[in-house]
Symmetry: C2
Subunit: 362 residues, 2 copies
Amino acid sequence: MGVTLKDVAEAAGVSITAVSKVLHGSGKSVRIAKETETAIREAAHRLQYVPNSVARSLRTSRTRTIGLVFENFGSLSEGPMYYVLMLDGVAQELFRNHYRLTILAEVSHKHVGGALSDGRMDGAIWCKLPMEEEVLTQLAQSRIPVVALNTEAPTNPLLTYVSCDNEGGARLVVEHFYALGHRRVLYVMETGEDDTPDATARLRGFRRACQEACLPFTEDDIVFWDRDASQFADWWRSGPPHTGVFAWNERVAGAVLRRAHESGVHVPGDLSVVGFDSTPFCETTSPPLTAVRQPILEMAKHAARILFESLDNGPDEPRVFTYPCTLDVRGSTAPTSMVRRTRRKPVETSNGPVLDAERGNP
Amino acid sequence: MGVTLKDVAEAAGVSITAVSKVLHGSGKSVRIAKETETAIREAAHRLQYVPNSVARSLRTSRTRTIGLVFENFGSLSEGPMYYVLMLDGVAQELFRNHYRLTILAEVSHKHVGGALSDGRMDGAIWCKLPMEEEVLTQLAQSRIPVVALNTEAPTNPLLTYVSCDNEGGARLVVEHFYALGHRRVLYVMETGEDDTPDATARLRGFRRACQEACLPFTEDDIVFWDRDASQFADWWRSGPPHTGVFAWNERVAGAVLRRAHESGVHVPGDLSVVGFDSTPFCETTSPPLTAVRQPILEMAKHAARILFESLDNGPDEPRVFTYPCTLDVRGSTAPTSMVRRTRRKPVETSNGPVLDAERGNP
DNA sequence: CTGAAAGCGCTAACAC
DNA sequence: GTGTTAGCGCTTTCAG
């Protein structure tokens, strides 16, 4: 079909090797006469030669392509914006380094090895890696390096993980509420997400922080609402003791805001609301949503960089990078004194990621 | 590195051919004894054989991969949600057919042919194809089929286009405003998007529809605002004659809503607002945003299907599919009598896409 | 039923 | 400086 090296070689009256060297030669071993070189380039140009990457990949077993395993791709628009940011981060870093991105929407957990080892990708980023033992061991033996992004790391990691400190993030929320005078806060989970590791980690952090702050927090302070928070009105009508709501993610928090508005509940006057995952979406709600920020763009880029590194230097020890969260305070939270606050700066807990080993040091 | 057919063949004591036939054989020519077959399968399983797709692709020149050319990938999160929907549509259709999606963030307009003809993809969808003559002719000669998605088709198309009727969409907006009693409407463009074909087509449709409705519409009714609509307050303060605003896209419309709120302008009481591209985002603004809907999910899937078809049946004539738009009426528009409206159903202009040739028929 | 052999287009020693 | 050669792992005639 297409024009090959051979065609160019014939057109230029030289050998295939010469053409390969001139056109794709890696600098040093390109000892070719200026004359033949121009002849070759001219022929290549005239024939509109374009190198066949597949053949090259077969030869070099490098594709300059990274796979992103992203189980719910195809309904990105229905999920929280957080994932779009993640995608942006991965894409930015890959493209900057002239890598291509291919998306794997579903990888059979039976044949994890197969999907990733078929030669089409040099490495993979797995978003929300499942915790099944078998998947993990298979991945660890995969022919290509894999890094888990946005996944709570197990105690004995076989892979490199890049994730955020969900517990710490929830803690920030409690501190924020506490500082504003709130003493009873509702934790809103999402139906069907009960065993999402993120969600449970956030709940755990929330619970612990409440304990430490001597705030009451019982099972009654946890509700499971659907993603449209359609239960809000009933809940509010029941006259709950809470002055604040912490929703496990951005989307649900947004829904709470909307429902509150519909019910004539003034946020933050009557009720303060905080979400998890501060994204551009939080700027567009009204009021703008106070939310925990994980540096997802950075995290995503970092995941990509880790791959580049093990591609260049050979495989590395599994490591766990846990990024601290910060809180973006916006208009949806206010002191219980009911005074409306103006926008404040993000609260930093620390800078940069923290290696697991370093945590717990004073 | 990996286990190859050869390894399996040796382990099973048969030829490479036999293994290939058993493991990947296309049904008919698989005349292999039951016994050897099981031996082969057993060996393959024991060795954890996984076929090398790159080698296969080189041989068959098929990759089961479709490229999506998407020039601003990497900042999806900053753009309108519309693009995420488009991505979803493409992804859904590809994955449903066991195709892989690879993203090309930038394709040098000089070497369009090269990027698409390097053997890594069987076809490509080009989102917002530029109109440069040279790019178009190059694409038309590309080794793989290309369809332009979300691009205004030229009069003499060399490629297949799938796009929406931007002009018709703008027309719906005028009709809607008119029916509600509005007589002066502001058209909000976005700085830097002056020559985006979409934007100009919408403006054109808007202008024409105003003319036909005998509504005044001059250059003074067009403004260029930044995507945060930061000019809103000044504009409002100047006491404009408009009772409605039509923003060229979703994002800007959302910004207008926010700015209006900040300025104490009640939407839709004081001002009605309409956007272009009805997406889940429009449900989350307050009030929810009335917006023109293009059936982007369908359009994206259609683009993918067109590729499958020309991959299966050989190349097809260039065609232009123009999908009609509809209007999703939500809470941001109301009659000038200032009565707040409840939500209504989308207004359908017609069903399904319309082939260009069919348009203009009674 | 089974296997030998010829490539797909390219790279990389290694000779001349 | 330049060409010969041997594959990368797979599919696919074509003989047996």
